[in-house]
Symmetry: C2
Subunit: 337 residues, 2 copies
């Protein structure tokens, strides 16, 4: 199975290491033999129709900061989208999330699907902004678009809802979908002011230098819209999510909540066609009331009641493992056809 | 798809109601058209090769206490196993759990598989005592044996581990697998003595009149052995589980644990080929530290870290929904072949 990787950051490199380490097992247990035939980062391209030497690719990325030096002669690529030009079965779209206009993710995904490639992405932007039309385009081109890593990182929140609750109807979900804000709120419960808690998160690499995507609830809102589309069949985008961030949460609010044995969490909800992300008081006895960087989602379904799934929401290796799960699923589905 | 139900208690009746209520959806969404052609309880048999009228079956069970009155002429069945004699694709083995020798479950399951029928069971006995050999027999006869309802009731703990963590290797799990003991321990944390908490659970229908299967940890041990076999490929039985019940837990132990911000829970563990069920001190910050009748299991996997799944562990409707999930899976697999 030939793959092209677009975007070779932490997730891409972790994925390359993962298939390097587990090649024989992937083949013997899952019948998957992934060959990365092209790899693109912001500064260069590495191409080898027979499959790139992943050890060398990772080395060059590490030493030169780009995969561009892989082929000493340099590879000339025609004008236009690389996603169309490379011959492969699956494209991994691993560029950073852009919630403004979804680029370059949307263009990459559209070009790949139009040229008959399956796509795996961990990029929330395209899905948060254009889920319904991207899924339609995938159907039209008879390819699969998979995105387990966009919600929950390594925690299979999307698969859980889709696969484990078959035969039942999910009527609503609620949960903590952003680890950074959960870390900040947990620290605030320990007595730190918002600004101090944010600084602490930044020092630990949990929050970005420009943290507003997390703290203003955009990241959680993107995930709520993805889950609502995929699991509940809603045709919504991030713009439909009623969103309030955590910057307005005060230590006094948290103290008041604590007196009622509650905690304040940034909770995303999808219920009766309405989507929201808001700081919400939840009981400490509620299974979704988890601390630190954990994510937690409770699905309510018609017949099997409520189920909660909890795990770390991020991490390069964990997210790479979700890309691998998607790849195995695509392989199994192709094989069935 | 023709089904035979053996054992028509709460789960069996809930299942009949479920497919009665959702017949059109099951057909349109999942392509499943279940017809119950035979139903057996301890006192009688109802048979109709064209499919039993479920409304009448449920009425007769309710008014007469047995399905035996369904056919006024009575149905004569030859000596021997009904599981072999009825012509159908899937047998639902829903008789009560017997952890002594697994009967009548084991005989029913073996007879059904030998005569080429797929089997769905919610009966822990046969699996806890003979998982490896039953799976071998299923393979040999080229039929499927499914048992989602044996662990977690409506909470898809087994499916989660098997389907959502594909491509990864589960290295260990730990969790609360018995709702009754969790309820008792939760009440003890509120200050009730063991005996009083047990009485309370019995009054609410959470504990049985003879509660030792729960309180001595047999039920949890059965589930640990089932998960270890199915998810981690261990070939173990309930006899291999190192087991201590909760009868020896005192209020003083619980108070001591509380001072360390911990709680005492009956935790089942599978790790490095060892299985155990024991009262264990766990941090209140640990996601598996849930209260009341909830179940919670944390799976640790090589690459995607730790994931916890939480839900109610029992209930007729919830367990019936797990039988339906198994049925849809069997249908999908048959269809693929």
């Amino acid at each position: 199975m030939r793959l092209t990787i677009i975007g070779f950051g932490i997730v891409g490199q972790s994925f390359a290491k993962l298939i390097l380490d587990r090649a024989s097992e992937l083949y013997s247990v899952y019948g998957v033999n992934p060959r990365i035939v092209a790899c693109v980062d912001t500064k260069g391209v590495a191409i080898s129709p027979g499959g790139l030497d992943l050890r060398r690719l990772l080395d060059i990325k590490k030493t030169k900061g780009t995969v561009g030096g892989y082929d000493p002669e340099g590879y000339k690529i025609r004008e236009g989208s690389i996603a169309e030009q490379i011959d492969c079965e699956v494209m991994l779209e691993l560029t950073p999330t852009n919630l403004q206009n979804g680029e370059p993710g949307i263009s990459n995904i559209v070009a790949a699907m139009r040229s008959g490639k399956h796509v795996i992405t961990v990029n929330k932007g395209p899905l948060a902004l254009a889920f319904p039309s991207l899924m339609e385009l995938a159907d039209y081109n008879n390819v699969m678009l998979r995105f387990s890593g966009t919600v929950g990182g390594g925690t299979p929140i999307l698969e859980f809802a889709k696969k484990c609750l078959k035969g039942d109807k999910i009527t609503s979900f609620k949960g903590i979908l952003n680890g950074t804000t959960n870390y900040i709120l947990t620290k605030m419960e320990e007595g730190l002011a918002f600004e101090t808690a944010l600084k602490d998160a930044q020092n630990r690499g949990i929050a970005e230098a420009l943290p507003h995507l997390d703290t203003d609830g955009y990241d959680a809102a993107a995930k709520v819209s993805i889950v609502a589309n995929w699991v509940m069949g809603m045709k919504k985008t991030i713009c439909d999510v009623d969103r309030i961030g955590i910057a307005g949460v005060t230590l006094k609010d948290i103290e008041e909540a604590r007196k009622r044995h509650n905690a304040i969490k940034l909770i995303g909800v999808a219920e009766q066609k309405k989507l929201s992300v808001k700081p919400t008081e939840v009981s400490k006895m509620d299974p979704i009331c988890v601390n630190g960087t954990l994510n937690a989602v409770t699905f309510s379904s018609e017949h099997s009641g409520q189920q909660t799934i909890i795990g770390r929401g991020a991490g390069g290796v964990e997210t790479a493992s979700s890309v691998l799960r998607d790849l195995i699923e695509i392989k199994n589905t192709i094989y069935e056809i």
